[in-house]
């Protein structure tokens, strides 16, 4: 979809970008990361011809962009920047409608599109469409910024540290929104950041840059598992083992676990515990609701009379959550294992801290 071939950009004598080549596939979210001043923004701006390459060329959909009128090119590429740059004298709706208006879309079509986009980025159209940028919080403004970039349904989206100026809570909200939007729209996105956690969370492919050159590129897991040199190792941080766990799903480490139902006879349950020290307990829907300890004095009756069931959500993780989240929960709850559930909240198995340590 996007091919950058031997791109070099000099400012006077200073080489901001040195002989970069990069392929971004259709529907892929590529995150470009690196210390400040390494040439990320410059590379991005070459793609919509806000900067002219000194050498090399860029192809979008196989077409050399230097043959496309820059104004036409830019109308087909969404552009989101850190300071948002909303037009202060226009409402949120008018801001979003900018490119469709430049493209002379039909008025009704623009109206529908704006409403759809406001919903998409999580802003209630009725409440937000008539608001001016000065009346929006930083997070809301950037949501409008993203909607504006998506307005004419461009195939390519360029985002230059779009969440860099937001507080951590708002930032992670917008990151989650972007993940959701991307899973729906499957745009080809080049996303610039200097935040490694953001890169790992969002990226299909990470490109790590330094001094105008690409140091390493690949999937986030590759980057964490096989850093090519000390610079990459340092950049991803000393906690890269933990970061990798944030990319791994709980289901990878999930193993089958014995369980009994609430209405099982207690003596059968004791047999099932066998030489273990506990057994999970599920309700009639196979939803985990507690556990049973092995050591009981001459128990009689049913499982439900003996099982521990208080605040059981602290002992449950979904198979789609990250192992890092599971670990976090174990530490918080002071246990060595959690019960794993599937999408319908039915018991799937368990995950234990020993397995995580041994297998990763």
């Amino acid at each position: 979809m996007i091919q950058i071939k031997n791109l070099t950009k000099n400012y006077n004598d200073y080489a901001a970008v040195k002989d970069i080549s990069l392929d971004i596939k259709k529907g892929e979210l590529c995150v470009m990361i690196g210390p400040s001043g390494c040439g990320k923004s410059t590379t991005l701006k070459v793609l919509n011809r806000l900067e002219t390459p000194t050498e090399g060329s860029v192809f979008i959909n196989g077409e050399d962009i230097s043959n496309i009128d820059p104004v036409i090119l830019r109308r087909g590429i969404g552009y989101v920047i850190q300071n948002v740059g909303l037009f202060p004298h226009m409402t949120a709706s008018e801001n979003i409608a900018t490119v469709p208006q430049l493209l002379k879309w039909d008025k009704n079509k623009i109206g529908e599109r704006v409403e759809y986009l406001l919903n998409l980025v999580g802003l209630e159209p009725f409440e937000y469409s008539k608001k001016y940028p000065a009346e929006l919080s930083g997070g809301e403004a950037q949501r409008v910024g993203v909607a504006r970039a998506l307005a004419a349904d461009p195939e390519v989206l360029l985002m230059d540290e779009p969440f860099g100026a937001l507080d951590p809570i708002t930032r992670s909200e917008l990151q989650r929104s972007l993940v959701k939007i991307q899973s729906e729209l499957k745009k080809t996105i080049l996303f610039v950041t200097h935040d490694i956690d953001e890169a790992i969370l969002l990226a299909d492919m990470v490109v790590l840059m330094k001094d105008g050159e690409i140091v390493q590129s690949g999937s986030p897991t590759q980057m964490l598992e096989f850093p090519v040199n000390k610079f990459v190792r340092d950049f991803v941080g000393t906690d890269r083992a933990l970061k990798r766990l944030s990319l791994t799903k709980v289901e990878t480490f999930c193993k089958p676990a014995p369980y009994v139902s609430l209405n099982t006879d207690i003596s059968n349950a004791v047999e099932m515990i066998d030489n273990g020290i506990y057994i999970w307990v599920v309700d009639e829907n196979e939803k985990p609701c507690g556990w049973l300890d092995a050591y009981m004095d001459e128990p009689t009756g049913f499982v439900k009379d003996y099982c521990t069931i208080d605040s059981f959500e602290n002992f449950t993780v979904s198979k789609k959550q990250s192992v890092k989240e599971a670990l976090n929960k174990m530490i918080k709850s002071g246990v060595n294992q959690l019960v794993v559930v599937d999408g319908d909240e039915r018991l799937l198995g368990e995950i234990s801290i020993d397995d995580i340590i041994q297998k990763s």
Binding site: Y79, V84, G85, L102
Partner: protein, 377 residues
């Protein structure tokens, strides 16, 4: 104001136009009824003025009382003048210290009332302005003051007065209009060519520091020379004195505020706004028309306001090079020591400037884009 009314002579009773006259105090010249009326209105005003909270209705009422006093005083003076001129047709009755003191106080109080009105209550503001000028307006209709010197001056020169009024407006208007036409593009140009902008502003600043009389003078020689060299220029009435040098000087003066504010308005826009506009595929023309000019509109219009008001004042000086306008009377009056004649034109010039200023402020509010807090200064 009260001092003006009672302690100082209200009118000057002159035997003829140019001779000094005897002082005429309000107490001496007015009939008892009128004195009592004015007094009671004043007392009423003072009582209200000392009430603690002024709401808008009370404020309007106070303005009304003052306005009535003002009207009464002018009519009293008109009557006195009428009686005196019937007795001796050479006699002149002119306003003097007391009257002007009163007017000064009157304007101060009215301005105070105007200034304390809440920002957006345009209707109240307008009412106060109307009340302020109503007494003068009323008199023009019932004409009871024709025998007071300043109005006699007006009557005897009514046609010239109107003509110079038109001239004044024409000169100021066309100079300001040209200054806008040149100033805005020049402001945009200086923004786009930062290096040249320093020189442009340097030049305009120098022009601004030349006293206006000197600038008008400077232009006479080159314009006369130009006219003598070109038959065409000569034939369209272009010469060293008159309209052409006056307009040119006024335009030169009017440029700085407009260029400066256009430049400042466009520069004050967050660069990321322009970057995103460009990144979305707006041409530089579209960025200018749809983004830069609308966003800088409040500052830009404020520049036009300053330029225009300043131009109205400078036009009075332009009479020196024979351009016409109120300045003509002012300088004539000064030459003849005819104070009434000077005032007759100085006051309308000031009023015109104040009026233009108010109108422009109103236009600024109207043209300021919504969604932006329009701090203009």
């Amino acid at each position: 104001m009260i001092v003006g009314l009672f302690m100082a002579p209200l009118l000057s009773l002159k035997p003829n136009r140019l001779m000094p006259g005897d002082p005429g105090y309000l107490i001496d010249i007015a009939p008892l009824n009128d004195i009592l009326l004015v007094l009671s209105l004043l007392v009423l005003f003072l009582i209200f003025a000392n009430l603690l909270s002024w709401n808008k209705h009370l404020k309007l009422f106070m303005c009304l009382i003052l306005s009535a006093i003002f009207y009464k005083i002018i009519t009293i003076s008109g009557d006195v003048a009428l009686v005196r001129s019937e007795a001796d047709f050479l006699a002149r009755t002119a306003f003097t210290t007391g009257f002007w003191l009163f007017v000064a106080g009157y304007i101060v109080v009215m301005m105070q009332a105007f200034a304390t009105v809440i920002e957006k209550k345009y209707d109240i503001k307008l009412l106060i302005i109307l009340l302020t000028i109503a007494p003068v307006g009323l008199l023009f209709f019932n004409g009871g003051v024709g025998e007071i010197s300043i109005f006699k001056e007006l009557m005897s020169k009514q046609d010239r007065f109107l003509l110079e009024f038109k001239n004044h407006l024409l000169i100021s208007g066309s100079a300001s209009f040209s200054a806008i036409l040149i100033g805005i593009p020049l402001g945009i140009y200086s923004f786009r060519h930062q290096r040249l902008s320093e020189r442009i502003f340097g030049l305009l600043n120098i022009v601004q520091t030349i006293p206006s009389i000197a600038l008008f003078g400077f232009l006479i020689a080159p314009f006369a020379w130009l006219a003598s060299k070109s038959d065409f220029l000569d034939s369209v009435g272009f010469s060293g004195i008159g309209f052409a040098p006056a307009i040119t000087a006024l335009i030169l003066y009017g440029l700085l505020p407009i260029v400066r504010n256009t430049y400042a308005g466009i520069s004050s826009i967050d660069p990321s706004v322009v970057e995103s506009a460009k990144g979305m595929g707006m041409t530089s023309g579209q960025i200018l028309i749809k983004i830069q000019l609308p966003v800088s509109m409040p500052l830009l219009m404020n520049g036009i306001r300053v330029s225009f008001v300043q131009c109205i004042g400078n036009t009075a000086v332009a009479a020196l090079v024979g351009a016409g306008g109120f300045g003509l009377f002012i300088f004539q009056g000064l030459g003849q020591s005819a104070v009434d004649m000077v005032l007759l034109c100085a006051i309308p010039t000031i009023l015109l400037a104040v009026f233009a200023d108010t109108i422009m402020q109103f236009i600024i509010k109207l043209t300021s884009p919504k969604g932006m807090d329009y701090d203009t200064d």
